[in-house]
């Protein structure tokens, strides 16, 4: 059951009043018409004047706060100013339309450069911990890092290339629009069913904003209809519905229309100036990256992202010296939030394209160039930013690249200059990685830990409860497998129990590809604790030493069995242990505990892509894809492959299709939020089953549960680079802007005279 499917008796339907202007001040608001229709109305004047950041994944010193539940100074078209709740959605819609607002319009900027020169500040003040910061030039936050002597590094280089890359501003287009159903409770608390990747952070945020005691806020875990990072932060419908529920004292359902959802969140749009230098033998010597993030009208996690962008960059290839200047700039557009990869797809595209170009100039094969410089086993890795460093302990990059190259016949790939005619073929590759969680041996600026509880039932089955969300990637099933494996029970004997914030301990969030690596780690921890207690009770029953007992799975009886090996009649099933424990009042075998992974090992991926470009229409078709992934032990091969399939489709779409352009005349999205003008691929757009090969490298991650790592984001990160490089191989033309649309391709072909 999804949040948007959920309904309660006496529930009211809510609608949000959205700003029609990209930047304005509300001079007056008249809600009498709405109230006369019987609606409950909440405006920006009545919500708690608490500035917050909706994402609680980072520590306070890295969490910039510039949001209010509802605003009197809207900063983008679509920003919520007021909200109504009424008996039916139709009545709520009429109530909404009856609200009269007078606005004073302000200057607006739709591009980071313009914004930095704008007189009207989008935010004058924002907060960081208890400090109030004055914003200058609409810059939300900055980060600069230098390591090594970069000038010297560039002097040593025989070849230097610098390019400017502009990414698109994509929309997650997760199938379920953002929704919250909130029921006010008699004790002054609330129960919340919502689209979220983190029930505990939702609870904490509502507590921070409304002051309701934490224990009186119950956020229930429900199925989530896709997210890809758009619900790492608490979405606006949640606090808005809470405000309406508290005022009306009725349950309230606020579910965004698709067009509202399209105005609610988008990916981070980035402009990179990237410079890399290499010696003629192909060794990289230095790099400089200038990153300007166009983050829209609010910060969600711009500051941590500045750290991740440089982290992702420097963890791809060995750079003895590197410097980075990053800034996050406010614009009057839909706020940006994490989108599968959190900056990694963007920077990997830029780097993989530049690596190809550099290799060409050096006269070295681009695959060999990568093999020479990649960061792998034994190397220092800081993908999650400068505060999260660790040494890589498992790496399958060589296997991925070499096997993939062989399968696609890499060294015999087409030559662009030899191709004529309407259709041109090209083969390109890209490699990348993503972290598995944001764990580390010491605290960092990122909160990353989880918790789980496990109990042994009277019939030998186990109940497993965790707050960690499963987005449908098989995460919780993987945990169940881990537990079943550890405790020698058949998989179906592990029950995954529904959860809410009252019955679970804290888990930070399902993101950063940490579901299996971190969450599975927590499951493993409690499983081991349960095992100890099983041994202890079994020892009492068998008059044996707990550590000497053996445990195995009796498939026939479907039970875990504990036995003193070799000695007759000295074995006992889990069911017998649990029942005895109950009759003898020993207590129930159970464990609740938190767990933090001491590292965030990268999982690696590589894509080899063959495309066909139609030079008459500019359309690009995927012909063949070979995808390799190193995810350590593959716990769920089908579901892991499913991540690759989805990552490929999403990456293909990122490279060739998606963007949310703005109309500078009215500051709104050109498509007004309607997705008939935001296309994603259909079944007919992607390649046939036989043309897609997925393989897994044979590796083992010592820190992962049973050697496993994550895969969710690594599945996406290198796709854009590989597709862009394939297009370059087909046409001999390189593009420095995403998406690479048919329009741009035809224009470039004309300029080239092809």
């Amino acid at each position: 059951m999804f949040a948007s499917d959920f309904s309660l008796p006496t529930m009211l339907h809510a609608r949000v009043l959205k700003s029609p202007y990209p930047h304005a001040r509300v001079k007056s608001i008249d809600v009498l018409g709405a109230e006369e229709l019987g609606a409950t109305v909440v405006t920006f004047k009545e919500i708690p004047q608490v500035r917050y950041c909706p994402r609680l994944v980072s520590v306070p010193s890295a969490t910039y706060k510039d949001w209010l539940v509802l605003t009197g100074k809207p900063k983008y078209v679509g920003e919520p100013i007021a909200a109504v709740a009424a008996e039916t959605e139709e009545l709520a819609q009429r109530a909404l339309e009856s609200i009269e607002v007078e606005y004073e319009r302000l200057e607006a900027a739709f591009d980071a450069e313009d914004s930095m020169g704008m007189k009207d500040l989008i935010h004058e003040e924002i907060e960081l911990e208890d400090e109030v910061l004055k914003v200058e030039k609409n810059i939300g936050c900055t980060l600069e890092i230098t390591e090594g002597d970069v000038e010297e590094g560039f002097r040593e280089a025989d070849v230097i290339i610098e390019r400017t890359y502009r990414t698109n501003r994509r929309y997650h287009n997760q199938l379920e629009t953002k929704t919250a159903v909130v029921r006010p409770e008699p004790d002054g608390g609330v129960t919340i069913w919502s689209t979220t990747q983190t029930i505990h952070n939702s609870r904490l945020l509502i507590h921070d904003i409304f002051g309701i005691p934490v224990g009186k806020i119950r956020v229930v875990k429900v199925a989530l209809g896709g997210s890809f990072g758009s619900s790492i932060h608490v979405n606006p419908p949640v606090p808005i519905a809470v405000a309406l529920a508290l005022k009306s004292r009725r349950p309230v359902r606020l579910s965004y229309t698709r067009e509202e959802d399209h105005h609610d969140h988008c990916s981070y749009q980035m402009v990179f100036k990237l410079r890399l230098g290499a010696k003629e033998d192909g060794t990289l010597t230095a790099g400089h990256l200038d990153a300007v993030l166009d983050i829209g009208a609010h910060q969600i996690q711009a500051y941590p992202l500045l750290g991740c962008v440089v982290g992702w960059w420097v963890s791809l290839y060995k750079l003895p010296a590197k410097s980075y200047v990053g800034k996050a700039v406010y614009t009057n557009k839909v706020p940006s939030c994490a989108f599968r990869g959190y900056g990694n797809p963007q920077i990997t595209w830029a780097v993989e394209t530049l690596m190809d170009e550099l290799a060409e100039k050096l006269g070295i094969d681009s695959l060999d160039f990568r093999l020479k410089n990649y960061i792998g086993e034994g190397d220092l890795f800081w993908g999650q930013g400068p505060t999260v460093k660790s040494i890589i302990q498992s790496c399958g990059v060589e296997e991925i690249l070499q096997r993939g190259a062989e399968m696609i016949d890499w060294y015999n790939r087409p030559k662009p200059e030899e191709q004529t005619g309407r259709y041109r073929r090209g083969i390109g590759m890209g490699r990348g990685y993503h972290t598995s969680s944001a764990g580390a041996p010491v605290p960092s600026s990122i909160v990353d830990f989880g918790g789980a509880s496990l109990k042994l039932n009277e019939d030998g089955t186990l109940d497993y409860v965790t707050a960690l969300m499963d987005h449908g990637c098989g995460t919780l099933e993987a945990h169940a497998k881990i537990i079943a494996e550890e405790l020698f029970v058949p998989l179906e004997k592990v029950n995954i129990i529904s959860a809410d914030t009252s019955t679970t301990i804290y888990d930070v969030c399902t993101h950063a590809s940490r579901g299996v690596y971190s969450g599975g780690g927590a499951a493993l921890k409690v499983a081991k604790q349960v095992e100890e207690k099983i041994r202890e009770y079994a020892a009492r029953m068998l008059d044996a030493y707990p550590h000497a007992l053996k445990i195995y799975c009796d498939e026939e009886r479907g039970q875990g069995v504990v036995t003193a090996e070799g000695i007759e009649d000295r074995s006992v099933t889990y069911e017998e242990i649990a029942t005895t424990a109950r009759h003898k009042n020993w207590g129930m075998i159970a464990s609740v505990d938190s767990y933090r992974q001491p590292s965030c090992p990268p999982h690696f991926t590589g894509y080899f892509v063959e495309v066909e470009v139609d030079t008459w229409t500019g359309k690009v078709r995927l012909e063949r894809v070979i995808a390799g992934a190193d995810i350590g032990t593959v716990i769920n091969p089908d579901l892991a492959a499913g991540q690759i399939h989805g990552g490929l489709a999403m990456g293909w779409s990122m490279t060739t299709l998606e963007d949310t352009p703005y109309d500078p005349l009215d500051g709104d999205l050109k498509n007004r939020g309607f997705i008939n003008n935001y296309k994603i691929p259909s079944t007919q757009d992607l390649l046939d089953l036989n043309d897609l090969t997925v393989f897994f490298a044979d590796t083992y991650e010592p820190t992962g549960p049973f050697g496993a790592k994550g895969i969710g984001e690594g599945a996406l990160n290198p796709v854009a680079g590989s597709v862009a490089n394939a297009i370059q191989n087909a046409l001999g033309i390189r593009f420095y802007e995403l998406p690479i649309t048919p329009i741009k391709i035809l224009k470039a072909l004309e300029q080239k005279g092809g």
Binding site: G472, H645, G646, D688
Partner: protein, 154 residues
């Protein structure tokens, strides 16, 4: 307006306003939450149901247009505890990730297999192109339809 619609084999009477959408009648009037709202304008296929045996988008059909007709939703596919072979195939082939698009896909696939019990991959992809999935890249969905076709042919 009074209408009579046969939903999943059961005749039902409703009194609806002309502007009620079939999707909302099913979801809010009958609590059949399988058909989903994904976009409201026919772009995503999440609201797919069958009307008189044809796959249609319920977000663009007025409830009054269903008067006297037969409407079948995903909830009508399973026979008690026994799943429809298409549902089974989707589960077995890993074609379900977040699951939000699944009812729409299964209803479209059901219509396809009713018309064409042995579709090629090309035919499957063409028939399903009005259903969007953001999670799976469609690979396992296509496999599931092929597996379901095999099951049904037995």
């Amino acid at each position: 307006m009074n209408i009579e619609v046969t939903v999943n084999g059961q005749r039902r009477r409703f009194d609806v306003e002309p502007n009620t959408l079939l999707l909302n009648l099913l979801r809010d009037g009958l609590y059949l939450k399988g058909a989903k709202y994904g976009c409201g304008i026919g772009e995503c296929g999440a609201c797919t149901v069958h009307m008189d045996g044809e796959a249609v988008l319920s977000c663009m059909i007025l409830a009054v247009e269903a008067d006297g007709r037969r409407v079948d939703t995903i909830e009508g596919l399973a026979d008690g505890d026994e799943l429809d072979p298409i549902q089974e195939a989707f589960i077995e082939e890993g074609a379900i990730q977040c699951g939000f698009c699944t009812p729409g896909f299964i209803m479209t696939a059901r219509a396809l297999l009713n018309e064409n019990p042995d579709p090629s991959e090309v035919e499957i992809r063409e028939y399903l192109k009005g259903n969007m999935c953001r999670c799976t890249g469609y690979v396992n969905i296509v496999r599931a339809v092929q597996a379901a076709a095999r099951k049904l042919r037995k």
